[in-house]
């Protein structure tokens, strides 16, 4: 009985989601999109890079894939009909590139192989066999799909920040550059930096509240 109820509620959710999707499409058709390759790197490089890293788990390969995506985008820019947003279109290209990448490395080896790749170097260290066993007490931290979506959600919110705030936040939080170095590089003083960090963090929390929690 409970199982039945559960599936019903799931169906309902799906219906609602479908409705919102069609609604989105309608609103998008009204405003046709345009390509603006000069802004691609600034606007989408990090977003695409995160997506690529979560798929190939190697930052060098991911970087190359993003680069190839931009090239392919330029090449087929004339086929762009303006139906999807620029970013959606680029992600679609990147997805093809990821598939191509796996085809290539698999054809190098010839046979269909099951490949296991670990998300980071630290995964390969130590007694990892034991660690692969699910820990019933931590359900959230070890859910890679959810974390991947979370990363994309955060990246999405970062792209909505003012340019300078986004830059400072990325340098501090993601690249973990020291306060002093950031101040020197950008020509600001530390109190300036902390105010910017504060604003970006509150904005990001607000954005995530809306889209994630």
């Amino acid at each position: 009985m409970t199982a039945l109820k559960f599936s019903e509620s799931k169906k309902n959710i799906k219906v609602i989601k479908l409705n919102t999707v069609t609604f989105d499409n309608d609103s998008k058709k009204m405003a046709s999109h345009q390509l603006n390759p000069d802004n691609w790197v600034d606007q989408y490089a990090d977003y695409l890079f995160n997506f690529a890293v979560s798929r190939v788990s190697n930052s060098e390969i991911a970087k190359d894939l993003v680069q190839e995506t931009f090239f392919a985008g330029l090449k087929s820019a004339k086929n762009y009909k303006g139906e999807a947003a620029e970013r959606t279109w680029l992600i679609a290209i990147l997805k093809r590139k990821v598939i191509d990448h796996y085809r290539k490395i698999n054809s190098n080896k010839g046979k269909a192989e099951v490949r296991m790749s670990y998300s980071s170097a630290s995964d390969a260290e130590g007694d990892w066999l034991e660690e692969q066993v699910a820990d019933p007490f931590s359900k959230l931290e070890n859910n890679p799909i959810e974390n991947e979506e979370l990363g994309i959600a955060i990246q999405d919110c970062i792209s909505k920040l003012p340019k300078k705030q986004a830059l400072v936040f990325k340098m501090k939080t993601i690249q973990r550059i020291s306060t002093e170095d950031i101040c020197n590089e950008l020509g600001i003083n530390p109190s300036n930096l902390w105010v910017m960090i504060h604003r970006s963090r509150t904005a990001l929390m607000g954005c995530l509240n809306k889209n994630w929690f």
Partner: protein, 75 residues
């Protein structure tokens, strides 16, 4: 006594482990009087763990510049 603005800045510094001992003391003292700031700190810390969990990646400015140049050449 510190203001809420200062408390928020110290709170953000603690997220990056850059607050001094005295600053942390001031912050704790502020919490005794200000529930808003202690609630904010809780949220802020949660946000930090989310960021860590998400394993965010980004390209450095240098790499982006290089990419831009390459994109320009292909145009």
């Amino acid at each position: 006594m510190i203001s809420c603005e200062k408390a928020a800045i110290i709170c953000n510094k603690t997220q990056y482990k850059e607050a001094s001992f005295i600053e942390k003391l001031k912050l704790q003292f502020h919490f005794l009087m200000c529930k808003t700031c202690s609630a904010f700190t809780k949220k802020n810390t949660e946000f930090t763990t989310l960021c860590e969990k998400a394993n965010l990646q980004s390209l450095s400015e240098k790499e982006k510049l290089k990419m831009k140049e390459l994109v320009q050449t292909k145009r």
